[in-house]
């Protein structure tokens, strides 16, 4: 009964989504992702995290690939790594913008790599067969601990270690998962001897997190380093002398369906993207409220990547 109902619904969804080509964001139904040509497909699925900046990067890949003659299915706004990585590994997604250090730490809890090069060297083995990282972009977007300018001046805060001057038990505003991340409270305790409690604000270091920091609801906030709000709000990013937070270069992770020609297209995008450029793209999204496709189109055109 249940399966027949499910099948009926699936058929209905398929039929309807077939009529509406204007719905590129529909998530995969089981039957839709059945095609499994091993190598070099001209139809690729590009995915993104549930994070606007990641969606912009995914859209850069998508439009560049479309320009290169590929047919792209977009699957954006997929939750966290825990949700999308199994889909990548399962062959449902072919191209995904990732962040090198966090990806490595996620795949290998005992990873010892510290520098950007070490991380990239360790990634292919950690990803295993079926997936591979392409060349990393110079752009980075990593977790960073930020304080208000007022507090930085008051307590003399420059590095994460200085947080001990603020008090014994501190609050950090961040997405709830930070509580379990190696660079979250466990690592801060281990490497810096700090006791931090996570105040969960589920906007990925967005405006509410910034507001909470400025309202004094927390002592520090985890904000991605390419977030334009850091500069806009004169926040001070604390340095990380113990290299607790691994370098997070933007790195495309691709499936076997991505051939060398497609990889070359993506590589060009990666090479052109710097951290400053990424901050600029994010600012267009947050301040100018542009959509990811607009932002990507303008940037790619400006870089001469759309021919």
């Amino acid at each position: 009964m249940k399966t027949r109902f499910a099948a009926l619904v699936a058929a209905g969804v398929l039929a309807l989504s077939a009529c509406s080509s204007s719905n590129p964001l529909g998530s995969a139904s089981p039957a839709a992702s059945g095609s499994s040509s091993a190598a070099g497909s001209t139809t690729l699925v590009v995915g993104s995290q549930q994070y606007y900046s990641n969606e912009i990067i995914a859209e850069l890949y998508a439009q560049a690939l479309e320009h290169g003659g590929y047919t792209i299915t977009r699957q954006y706004q997929i939750g966290q790594r825990e949700v999308y990585l199994p889909e990548l590994q399962g062959g449902k997604i072919d191209v995904f913008p990732e962040y090198s250090g966090n990806l490595l730490q996620y795949l290998d809890k005992n990873a010892t790599a510290k520098t950007g090069d070490e991380v990239m060297a360790a990634l292919p083995a950690a990803l295993g067969s079926g997936l591979r990282p392409l060349t990393a972009s110079p752009a980075t977007d990593q977790d960073s601990y930020n304080v208000t300018k007022a507090n930085a001046d008051k307590y003399g805060l420059a590095s994460i270690a200085d947080l001990s001057k603020v008090g014994d038990s501190l609050k950090v505003c961040a997405n709830s998962e930070l509580a379990k991340r190696p660079y979250g409270p466990p690592g801060l305790k281990n490497d810096y001897g700090l006791n931090l409690e996570v105040i969960p604000v589920e906007d990925s270091g967005g405006p509410l997190t910034v507001k909470a920091l400025k309202d004094g609801k927390c002592d520090t906030a985890d904000i991605y380093s390419a977030d334009p709000s850091i500069a806009a709000n004169e926040l001070v990013t604390l340095t990380d002398p113990k290299a607790l937070i691994l370098p997070q270069n933007v790195v495309p992770v691709v499936s076997a369906k991505v051939d060398e020609k497609a990889a070359a297209v993506i590589d060009k995008v990666s090479a052109a993207l710097t951290t400053d450029e990424l901050v600029g793209l994010n600012a267009l999204s947050v301040n100018k409220q542009q959509s990811s496709s607009e932002i990507a189109k303008t940037w790619l055109t400006g870089k001469g990547l759309l021919g």
Binding site: F5, A10, V13, S27, S291
Partner: protein
């Protein structure tokens, strides 16, 4: 307002996707609730059990249900089927009680006299009890439809495409217009479907119009 005008296509596709999750769930919970409501009404012992189970089902927070169902059903976390099944369960929780009440609202004298007229049990159900229970069933269906359309948005936290993604994205980017659009579009969708149900009710049950 500019945000809305600049993103009409996005809003449209999210709305369509929203409906494709909500409508199957609303229909399924209505269809499944009828036999359950009939059982609850027919057998005294089952009424308390069924209605209590339905009430408890409703107390399960939606987010974990969306996440746990995939492992039970064997689909991926983001698969639409999970969301539809979860929404159907919530719809059932509300609708079983309505269906039982609706069938109970058909008076015993009516049931007995239609039996005396020679209706079989099945014939009586479809020709007499169901139409007479119609108005109360419709009232229940309207509540289910509104709450289902509203509840769909929670599944956006898992990355399932629907109007709720406008909250998640607008939240991260600090675009209040986007969040507001998500809310208003959800409410508007619920009210439109509700209006259609009322119209359908009048068309199918013309005798109720006279009473109002």
């Amino acid at each position: 307002m500019t945000w809305v005008l600049n993103n009409l296509e996005l809003i449209g596709s999210r709305t369509l996707s929203h409906l494709l999750l909500a409508i199957p769930a609303i229909v399924a919970s209505f269809v499944l609730a009828l036999p359950l409501g009939w059982v609850a009404n027919r057998y005294r012992w089952s009424r308390a059990t069924l209605l209590t189970a339905a009430g408890l089902l409703y107390a399960i927070p939606s987010l974990p249900l969306f996440v746990v169902l995939p492992s039970v059903l064997g689909f991926g976390v983001r698969d639409r089927i999970n969301v539809i099944v979860a929404l159907t369960l919530y719809g059932l929780a509300l609708m079983v009680r309505s269906a039982a009440d609706a069938l109970a609202s058909v008076g015993m004298p009516v049931v007995l006299s239609s039996t005396a007229l020679g209706y079989s049990a099945a014939g009586r159900f479809f020709a007499v009890e169901l139409p007479l229970a119609g108005p109360v069933l419709l009232a229940g269906l309207r509540v289910v439809s509104v709450s289902t359309i509203s509840l769909v948005t929670v599944s956006s936290l898992l990355g399932v495409d629907n109007l709720g993604l406008l909250f998640v994205d607008g939240f991260q980017r600090g675009i209040i217009a986007e969040v507001l659009t998500g809310i208003m579009a959800t409410v508007a969708l619920a009210l439109i479907v509700d209006g259609l149900l009322v119209l359908a009710g009048r068309a199918l049950m013309p005798w109720t119009k006279a009473r109002r």
